[in-house]
């Protein structure tokens, strides 16, 4: 497949792996956090870990949108779908996120709620236009990548006076989450989470550009390499991070220069600014309440803001006590260190949100990498002789 296979080439991967192994100083360890779920997925799906030397470890960050969505926000959506009779639309993975009392949007659907999976915000608006006598709510989630499309449908609904369409907005901001991790006592003062640098977001950076990361590099002395979501992108970014650490540099470098520039997509940024404003605070699953870390719909579009329209009141709900999603999202623990992992909590029966999406740290490890948790069985030889 053109323009894809080039970024998954085994020979190039071997070359990059050799360069990382050669340049990584055997006398020290390297801990890099890939912020995005897209990177987590690529690392797990392609087995990138097998190509890294043992002293280079990847920590899965909180950049998986469904993973950071707190229970209380899902509860709001379930309430709308079950008690207010709305058509509730959202992206596939969101429907499986566990909420209060073991519920989820999918289970609400089985109970009779009208919950629909959509591929885009525009689909939800289409459903609203096709059902003028029903209230249609789009449960919007995601980082800066999915925000412009939501802004676009809000503007369109406003202009077209689609009165029965509203958005339950849960859009969150990447830089705020990175600051939260860097400011956490585990990283800042206790030093229990060694963090030598970040593989920076791919798609998010196409929108916000590389400039917002310059602050982290300067203020926190952490190198950032913006990387694409293909496995070779990730490997090249790791090599660039190893070099920065070795040379004691902490800069923002752009591996994903085929798409990302310093300023980002100004048109998308303007669109987002027109429709959304900063929330004073927002609860993240795993990170807790993070100031100025999310967006809400501006007053001008209030008619399409589900929170205002249905007078929704947010009630925070604590995670299951044994669930370690919070510590895992901050890189303090690994999935296998959670008592629930692989037993009570699996992709079929997720207890915590990291087990829901294939971009979540737990689901990615369970689905792709859990054979590494046992040492008893040695790696078999090549399956098929070429």
């Amino acid at each position: 497949m053109k323009f894809v296979d080039e970024f998954r080439d085994a020979e190039l991967a071997r070359g990059l792996a050799a360069a990382i192994a050669r340049e990584a100083d055997p006398a020290r360890r390297y801990h890099f956090m890939e912020f995005c779920g897209g990177h987590t997925h690529a690392i797990s799906r392609y087995g990138v870990t097998d190509l890294l030397p043992p002293n280079v470890r990847m920590i899965h960050g909180p950049g998986c949108p469904v993973c950071v969505l707190p229970i209380g926000r899902i509860d709001l959506a379930i309430g709308l779908a079950l008690s207010r009779g709305v058509i509730l639309c959202s992206y596939g993975d969101t429907l499986r996120v566990p909420a209060s009392e073991g519920r989820s949007l999918l289970k609400a659907k089985a109970e009779g709620a009208d919950v629909r999976m959509v591929y885009s915000a525009a689909d939800a608006l289409r459903i609203a236009r096709a059902n003028p006598d029903r209230e249609v709510v789009f449960l919007a989630i995601g980082f800066e990548t999915t925000t412009p499309p939501t802004a676009l449908v809000l503007r369109e609904a406003h202009a077209g006076q689609v009165a029965n369409f509203s958005v339950l907005c849960n859009h969150v901001l990447t830089p705020a989450a990175i600051v939260n991790i860097l400011e956490s006592p585990e990283v800042r003062s206790l030093g229990t989470v060694p963090l030598d640098g970040f593989v920076g977001p791919a798609h998010v950076s196409t929108v916000i550009g590389t400039e917002p990361y310059e602050f982290f590099a300067q203020e926190y002395r952490k190198p950032v390499v913006i990387a694409g979501f293909e496995p070779l992108d990730v490997m090249q970014a790791i090599l660039m991070l190893v070099r920065q650490v070795n040379e004691r540099r902490s800069q923002v470098e752009n591996q994903f220069s085929r798409v990302v520039n310093r300023a980002g997509n100004l048109k998308a940024q303007a669109l987002v600014a027109e429709v959304f404003e900063l929330r004073r605070e927002f609860e993240w699953r795993g990170l807790g309440t993070v100031p100025y870390s999310a967006l809400r719909i501006r007053e001008a579009f209030a008619a399409h803001d589900a929170e205002r329209k249905f007078s929704l009141v947010y009630q925070p709900v604590a995670d299951n006590k044994a669930c370690e999603c919070g510590a895992i999202l901050r890189g303090i623990k690994r999935p296998v260190e959670c008592k629930l992992f692989g037993g009570a909590c699996t992709p079929e029966t997720p207890m915590g949100s990291c087990m829901v999406s294939s971009e979540g740290a737990c689901a990615a490890h369970y689905s792709y990498g859990r054979f590494r948790d046992r040492e008893a069985v040695p790696a078999p030889a090549a399956a098929v002789q070429p």
């Binding site: 085994a10 071997r14 097998d50 054979f371 078999p380 090549a382 399956a383 098929v384």
Partner: protein, 350 residues
């Protein structure tokens, strides 16, 4: 049914503009007319013709195999097939995977009130053509009608029986360490064909469902290599899920080689676009074969000698593994688990 008897009906069925009515399933004259003018006309054979409650059939000696499969695919017509042909292929293949020669089919129809008879006629014609091409007659059937809004046009359940020739013993629990794992061709075609139709996606090359009867390929394969241990058609859940089922049943692990697994470029591109993994996408005309390593060359040659196995490939080996992991060496050179399908990647595909 004689011409004189057919004249009992005042007017023939309006197969151009008519619609399914509740009376068509009520068991009265309307039901009889639908059966005779639509189903019998299409499926006509000596066992169905008497229209008794049960078909009376001759059976050759041997071990009897029986399989049943309900079809609820949406949309009913998709590139490369429709629910009619699919309902024949699905059950013929289930019977064939036991190593059996499929002999007869039974068909149960659940029709939704209001469904156009013209579309039903197309489905039945396609089903009859598929049965004829496969050489497996539909010998008995049933029709029920549900109220509008309580069905989705047409659901079809087919049941098939077949006979296993002597000397053949296939079992999902029979895979052994060291065995070779084959797939008979490109994976993911059916699911992507359905999905592209459903999402109105258009690609430069139209992706067709691979829906096809596999019993002739199976017969050729077993003739060349009777020691084959496992045959399975990787339908729902795709290659990955079927291999996990076999690994668990046999108490073994597997190691696959990603670069050896055939995927058509258009399917790979569509999966990339839709966020699907072809390993989990349904097939309706492919089989997985597991055979002793010593027979690997013969199996591959036999598969590739048949038009339906042209793109067959050796994709991996059976390993010893107490956890029954299906693992894969990725194209990039790393390793991963190929797990069971979680949830529902694509609902209503067959």
């Amino acid at each position: 049914m004689s011409a004189a008897a057919r004249r009992e009906y005042h007017r023939p069925l309006d197969l151009r503009r008519g619609r399914v009515e509740l009376a068509h399933g009520a068991g009265g004259r309307a039901t009889a007319q639908l059966v005779e003018e639509l189903f019998l006309a299409a499926f006509d054979n000596e066992w169905l013709r008497p229209l008794n409650d049960a078909a009376s059939l001759p059976m050759p000696a041997g071990r009897l195999v029986m399989a049943t499969d309900s079809h609820v695919v949406s949309p009913l017509f998709f590139p490369g097939g429709d629910i009619g042909s699919l309902s024949v292929h699905g059950t013929v293949n289930d019977v064939a995977m036991a190593g059996a020669v499929p002999l007869y089919l039974a068909a149960g129809f659940v029709l939704e009130e209001g469904y156009p008879l013209a579309d039903l006629k197309r489905i039945v014609a396609s089903m009859a053509a598929a049965a004829k091409a496969a050489g497996v007659p539909v010998v008995t059937g049933d029709t029920k009608v549900v109220e509008q809004g309580k069905g989705d046009g047409v659901y079809i359940t087919t049941t098939g029986v077949g006979v296993v020739p002597p000397g053949i013993s296939l079992d999902g629990a029979a895979a052994r360490e060291g065995d070779a794992i084959f797939v008979s061709g490109t994976i993911g075609d059916h699911g992507v064909a359905i999905m592209s139709k459903r999402e109105n996606l258009e690609f430069q090359t139209e992706i067709l469902s691979d829906s096809a009867p596999l019993h002739r390929l199976v017969a050729a394969l077993l003739a060349a290599c009777p020691r084959i241990r496992v045959l399975r058609d990787p339908t729902r859940g795709g290659l990955a899920t079927t291999l996990n089922e076999i690994a668990r049943a046999s108490g073994v692990g597997m190691l696959l080689e990603e670069s050896a697994i055939p995927v058509a470029p258009a399917v790979a591109a569509a999966c990339e676009f839709l966020g699907l993994d072809p390993l989990y996408v349904a097939n309706e005309g492919k089989l997985i074969a597991i055979a002793p390593a010593a027979d690997a060359d013969r199996v591959l040659a036999a598969l590739r000698a048949h038009p339906q196995g042209r793109d067959a490939a050796l994709i991996g080996r059976v390993t010893r593994d107490p956890d029954h992991f299906v693992q894969m060496r990725t194209g990039l050179g790393g390793r991963r688990v190929v797990d069971w399908l979680t949830g529902d990647q694509l609902p209503r595909i067959c």
